[in-house]
Amino acid sequence: MILRVQQTAETVVAEAQAGAFEPILLGLIVLLPLIGFAINGVAAILAARTAERRRWSSSSHHGGSEGEADEYSNETHSVMDAEPTGVVPWTHRLPSLVAPGVMLLAFALAVANLFGMMGVELEEPIVRTYWSWIPVGELQVEAALQLDQLSLLMTLVVTGVGALIHLFSVGYMSHDPGYPRYMAYLNLFVFFMLVLVLGASFPVMFVGWEGVGLCSYLLIGFWFSEKANADAGKKAFIVNRIGDFGFLIAMLLIFVDLGALGYVEVFERAPQLDYAGPVVTAICLFLFLGAVGKSAQIPLYVWLPDAMAGPTPVSALIHAATMVTAGVYLVVRASTLFAMAPAASLLVALVGAVTALFAATIGLKQWDIKKVLAYSTISQLGFMFAAVGMGAYVAGVFHLMTHAFFKACLFLGSGAVIHALHEAMHATHSHADAQDMRNMGGLRRYLPITFATMAIATLAIAGVAPFAGFFSKDEIVGAAWIGSAGELPLSQASLFGVGGGTWMGMIAILLSIAAFLTAFYMGRLMLYTFFGPNRTGEAERQHLHEVGWTMSVPLIVLAVMSTIGGFFNVDSLVPIVNLFSPFAFGGDAALHNWLHPVIIGAEEVWASNTAAIPEVHHASWPILLAILVGVAGLVLAAVVLKPQLLGTPEETPAYEGNLEKVLYNKWYVDELYQRIVVRPVWGLSRAFYSVVDRGTIDGIIDGVLGRGAMLLGLSAGRVQTGQVNTYAFIIIVGVIVVLGSIVVM
């Protein structure tokens, strides 16, 4: 790819203000995963060309072909389809080096940039323009990257967590026949994710936005031979496209009303719009629609649980740590616009809070370990949206970051569990579901590292101090309480005629309940998985063992980050939290200070459009409440749930009673959508085809015109009777007509 650096005047200006800081190989950060993709892609094609055919020929005598495999859960394939013996071909060895390698390099570059940027006070983003992408008339879209505090932070998360997950994948996936393809997709995903976070304009972001959706689609359906997997991928893509539609409309509105699509210009001009006016509200609502799709919020969350059909590291990377948080990133990125649209912001917060609670309730009664984590993710994303909706942008980003750590850790941990169970079941040819928690139990003895790391991550997500989730979640709930006290700018806004303060009070309550439920279902997950007797089966138990280093190292690193991740943003003004100030990294409220240039636009909007905000009073009771619900949830789970009484899926029904049934069936939302959206659309489509296209249009053309002309011709031809008398008569009639007309004329 051409990396001609065409520095625009703006870039030069930006750099002049940036002082000495010069981004280090910014383009290369993005490019590295793409290179990885290219190499792995070639390997994948070559592998497919040679290996796939052999696999089909060998599968016939390989004991269990598809019929058998179908009974296994999705994950079975990683084991079942592996080459039983033989030398590992180079196409399978190369990706192990290339894929994590490019990620580590990219991460290193990101870190280098971080250090460079920490050295200077960067007020304006740095925009690097590579080429002019879509220059048409007034529309000038550049292929440009923008480096600022927010995008760098996202880059760090994406490359850092991404590198760990790539490493984990080496252990997890290397036996899969599609391994090089998998790694290629994964690299491609990171590429698009980096485009998403580093893009300097909405269209460039949209490239990444749809690109990650594509990779998600490909990876969810990675084991495409099963219809369920392919269906899940398709569902994810189509649901995401609904969100993308919103994004697209938002871009159209932005361009038509502001005349630009680059962030710098848009946010400069945004204050020209009417504060809280219909235009900016519409823009924000459509942007939010995009975010809802990508980040799996109500009502478009339905694809995420299904997305668990993909390999577990994918769930960790895409559906927990990075892609699904893109919506949050979008809102923070467009914070200036959202600040202009208080009602839309409140709606964002409200949707987030409702989603947080709603998803948490479903998480209570899932047996599939990954499904629990999936709903947990939706729920946590709800927290983030609640935060950014309330204007607590940094809190949202903070939670995004810590969530990336602990949720990735949880997913990878669950992956390690599943992997271990698979191998065990594979060894004994068992057909049990390796993801059903009822088949687990007592695993802490067999998978000690996994258990320890997951336990830490659980504490983090439950919000137990001093783990990472405590700080970030606390900040969100705290912000809601503060807002309910009227001390946030948005408290002055209103939505549906109800004041912002009231809404935020409700949000605080919703989030608190959600936090409590979070702790409970996570405790349930840990109890059923790692405690109590082992329900895997006698024979299988012999084969249970801890995972290899490529998988455990990422777990450990993520566990460490889940532990200390909160210290990046310890606010000394908040009671109780300030107890941890001595441990804080980078000074007081480091993340706040770091991100301040990014959200300054929003603050300026508030400053000029809302009444002066009274001094913020940080009370200690909300913090105590937050700690309490977290601990209470875990304790309650420990007390109420009896892992030793749990049986295998055959012995224990999935649910008892109506409430459990509803929860287990996810409030029947999928069924509802099926009934009110999917089926009508299909029915309408069929009707269009048969009634309109075939019936009406072709009916008129072929039937009326075509056959009509034929019939007309036939009936006209009937005068040709062959009888001279008739002919003579016709001629006479003609004569009379002609004479009549000529004389009359």
Binding site: V207, E210, F224, V256
Partner: protein, 521 residues
């Protein structure tokens, strides 16, 4: 080089395929495909430098020529190239060798005639895009019907005759009305100046009353709308596509449909700017385009036949083009032009792939497939790529074009753009299930396990398409900047007359403005 400054390059591009056709007919059958391939390659090699020799500055027609043909009627051999036709010419030249490669083993009988028809068809299409004499244009426009008719009717599927006749009658019916329109312009010009002329440039300066404009625009628009095809006139297309052999589908989707949109841009809009920019016209075509986008997308989704499905998607895509054209602003029209190119490579790619699949399985029915990614992974890769390009994923030309069209439309009709944007959802709604049921899911048909993956020839013909799709999506600027002057002039022409025209009054359509100097040699 002089060759590229004179009309000879265009003349060569138009008639080289015809010569190739004659040669193919004369030589033994086994040679026919080689003749066609070489003709195609030469055509492409000759056409490619046009991209650079074309001067994107100034709005003038380039490589112009006017040689007398039937001088007593003012009929001249007039050719010319501008930013609008340049890419259509390049696209045609690109697709020709690829079509030959795509038919390499597909066509097993009557090769000589087949390749001759294919080449003759290319002549017709080329001619349409470079003709600047209305008579010449019409001749090329109609002439291309015959080879296409034979391609469908002789080498097509089961219902080929129905499809061929439907194709022919639809198109011919529309274009005959256009012929009356052309003649009307001719006689008006003669009445006005006393001279006979069919020159496009001369007609541009004709003053027409708004009533005349309306009728003439209708005559032209129907011809072009059928070709595009615009919503209620589209049913010939699925029929033709399903029955046509691969090369037929490819050229049909690749360039033939573009003749309709090209016709709007070259003739219907500039000749009758008042009628074309009238509010009712714009609204009518926008609504029809919109129906095309949503309705045909939905219809596409329920097709059991993969080729028919793709055929319907063409209607949906060109609905965007219609939208862009009638947005009558620079984003809309440039978007439509990019869409014409993007669709001109992505949809042919899909048809190529389906043709390859047909050669292996002798079926276009989606339910006969499934899980092909396991048995023919490279095919699957290509299909997924083509499908994604077709639904306009960013990074492919489809996105750039649809984005531009939507922006252009949004500026004039926000609500229509709003609904049209939902086309992105419907695109996924029709394309992904097809992809899934074709290459994903489990491989249930034993016969599909033993089929060979794409061979070198097939990959070689797909790779250029992939490259162009990505190029269009990533760096369309060289293309956009070559189009911009021509598009700018078109818009200026339409804009100026939009405000001048009043009912019943003759409108001298901006003939005084300097912008016309380019066309009127």
């Amino acid at each position: 080089m002089d060759f590229y400054r004179s009309h000879w390059v265009l003349t060569f591009l138009v008639f080289a395929p015809l010569i190739g056709a004659v040669v193919a007919l004369v030589l033994p059958a086994a040679r026919a495909r080689w003749v066609a391939l070489w003709t195609g390659v030469i055509e492409l090699l000759v056409a490619t430098p046009l991209f650079w020799t074309f001067e994107p500055v100034g709005a003038a027609m380039q490589n112009e020529v006017a040689l007398p043909w039937i001088p007593n009627w003012g009929i001249y051999y007039r050719l010319g190239l501008d930013g609008i036709s340049l890419f259509m010419v390049l696209l045609t030249a690109l697709l020709l060798p690829l079509m030959v490669l795509g038919s390499w083993t597909y066509i097993k009988d009557r090769e000589r005639v087949f390749y001759a028809m294919l080449l003759a068809l290319t002549t017709g299409v080329m001619g349409v895009f470079v003709a600047l004499d209305m008579f010449l244009f019409y001749v090329f426009w109609e002439m291309m019907l015959i080879p296409m008719y034979f391609l469908i009717g002789v080498w097509g599927g089961k219902d080929r005759i129905y499809a061929a006749v439907k194709f022919f009658l639809y198109t011919a019916a529309g274009s005959l009305l256009m012929l009356v329109g052309i003649l009307y312009l001719f006689s008006r010009y003669q009445a006005l100046t006393g001279e006979s002329s069919f020159a496009y440039g001369d007609f541009l300066s004709l003053p027409l009353t708004s009533g005349e404009q309306a009728w003439l625009f209708a005559a032209f628009a129907i011809a072009f709308a059928i070709k595009v095809p615009v919503f209620p006139l589209h049913t010939w297309l699925p029929a033709a596509h399903v029955q046509a052999p691969t090369a037929g589908s490819v050229i049909l989707a690749g360039v033939l449909l573009k003749m309709g949109t090209y016709g709007f841009l070259r003739f219907a809009l500039p000749l009758f700017p008042g009628a074309a920019s009238a509010d009712t016209t714009v609204l009518l075509f926008m609504v029809l385009g919109l129906i095309g986008i949503i309705y045909t997308a939905m219809v596409a989704a329920v097709q059991p036949n993969a080729k028919r499905l793709v055929a319907y998607t063409s209607v949906a895509h060109l609905g965007f083009a219609v939208l862009g054209i009638f947005a009558l602003n620079v984003q809309g029209i440039q978007g439509a032009l990019i869409l014409m190119i993007a669709h001109g490579v992505s949809t042919p790619m899909l048809f190529f792939l389906l043709g390859m699949l047909y050669e292996r399985t002798h079926s276009y029915e989606i339910e006969d497939f499934g899980g092909l990614a396991a048995s023919i992974p490279i095919f699957a890769l290509m299909l997924v790529f083509a499908a994604l390009a077709s639904i306009g994923l960013p990074g492919t030309g489809g996105f750039v074009s649809e984005f531009l069209v939507l922006i252009g439309t949004f500026r004039v009709q926000p609500w229509i753009a709003f609904i049209a944007a939902s086309g992105v959802i419907f695109a996924a709604f029709y394309m992904l299930p097809m992809v899934q049921r074709t290459v994903f899911n489990s491989l249930t048909r034993p016969a599909n396990r033993a089929i060979p993956d794409l061979c070198g020839r097939e990959i070689a013909l797909l790779v250029p398409l992939v490259a162009i799709i990505l190029w269009l999506g990533i760096y369309p600027r060289p293309i956009l900047e070559r189009m911009e002057p021509s598009v700018g002039r078109l818009i200026e022409r339409v804009e100026t007359s939009r405000f001048v025209s009043t009912p019943g009054e003759a409108v001298v359509a901006s003939s005084a403005s300097s912008s016309d100097e380019g066309i009127r040699e």
